[in-house]
Symmetry: C2
């Protein structure tokens, strides 16, 4: 079990408190809004009404003992920057910060954030990819040039078996999971005899250019 | 090329405008803040200064012609609810809405949102999983009980080849990609002769309980 501090109870901070507590960790929540502190009292071990940009107050909260401190203070870029600076000076070992923009992120890295998080930017990229490729329902980048996509089957695949199609050899892509809709079922590592239906959702991985070729079938 | 409307230029809305325009789509941005409209002028085809909760104004913007309208109006839950209602009444075919909380999401579904998006909640879940499992650097749920994780190699795997370990047969998991750090390189669909180093990052898929067993090695 680990000790976390979550500073700032916007949507991200709130869900962090909930998720971490549900997993059995000790969570200290910090926010300057009484209503926000009230909303997490039943979830976390300790909820502190405080101004994160007040180094004096911050120094009394035992930040150096935390396994990880997560700063998610919203629009006020200078608040998250100052808070990160103070946490670094107070000996916090690991500091993750939610950034509003990429420039904000660069500054945070420079002043000591171990990790910078972009929930909205990352989701915007996933949405933009998905809506740009018909049939693609979800896109997850894995590594440079290599992704996982959830794909409604291109017409050239419908009614064919995975064995006939031999996707790894002919296209360099692998079907990891097939989500069947009627009835609802998940087939993991499907076999060669699996016959693709138009209602299936194929979860496929491979190089981006190979995934693109597949979509054209 | 498709036509999109993005209503609300917070971080998510801004990155959507950027990402969709970069992919060559036509984007109409709507916001009531002149500064926000100013910030996207160079990115989008059309930037409209307007109050989204004014049905009269909304009716003049051709929402029924959009392939997709994305509503991301932030904290004011009633604003996104009313805007979604009006868009539905004005004939918008596909409406995706960024929700603040799950209850907000339920209401949005009921009044006509085709899809509800939770960037902060989803990122909070990924962070919570990652910090709860030592060695796990990233966690992506694929389907019920089945995920992809990025894993620093457990001690029992270091120095062994993939062929010796035979992970698919012995653990039911598959290594999709190995990210090497020294020097930086990405090995996609690695072969059986690949020998795991402690500096590698393994991108592995399988059932959650099998991934858990692997982490214990
Ligand atoms: N100096 C500060 N000290 C303590 N709490 C602060 C300080 N400044 C802002 N906060 C709190 O941080 C939270 C930020 O929430 P807000 O919704 O503005 O941020 P956000 O990062 O955009 O949120 P979301 O996670 O919803 O996208 C608020 O609860 C606010 O009370
Ligand atoms: N009624 C409205 N009509 C038009 N624009 C609006 C209206 N209400 C809010 N907005 C705009 O929506 C945007 C919402 O941004 P805000 O950062 O508050 O939202 P958010 O969804 O929390 O953002 P983020 O994507 O950064 O998490 C602002 O630019 C604001 O001007």
């Amino acid at each position: 079990m680990k000790q976390f501090a979550v500073i700032g109870l916007g949507s991200f901070g709130y869900y962090l408190c909930k998720q971490l507590s549900e997993r059995g960790h000790q969570v200290m929540a910090v926010d300057r809004s009484p209503a926000k502190i009230e909303s997490v009292q039943h979830l976390v071990e300790k909820a502190v009404l405080a101004d994160a940009v007040d180094k004096e107050t911050l120094s009394k909260l035992g930040m150096a003992d935390m396994d990880l401190v997560i700063v998610c203070l919203g629009d006020e870029i200078d608040s998250s920057i100052l808070t990160t600076l103070y946490l670094k000076e107070l000996g916090a070992k690991e500091i993750w910060v939610k950034a509003m923009t990429e420039d904000h992120g660069k500054v945070l890295h420079l002043i000591g954030a171990s990790n910078v998080i972009f929930p909205e930017r990352d989701m915007a990229e996933r949405v933009a990819y998905t809506v740009s490729h018909s049939n693609v329902l979800e896109h997850i980048p894995l590594a440079a040039g290599h992704s996982i996509i959830e794909l409604a089957p291109p017409s050239g695949l419908i009614g064919r078996t995975l064995g006939e199609l031999d996707l790894p050899r002919r296209y360099g892509v692998m079907v990891l999971v097939i989500k069947e809709l009627v009835p609802e079922n998940v087939v993991t590592m499907p076999s060669g005899s699996y016959r693709i239906k138009d209602s299936d959702v194929l979860v496929i991985t491979g190089r981006d250019r190979d995934l693109k070729r597949l979509q054209a079938l």
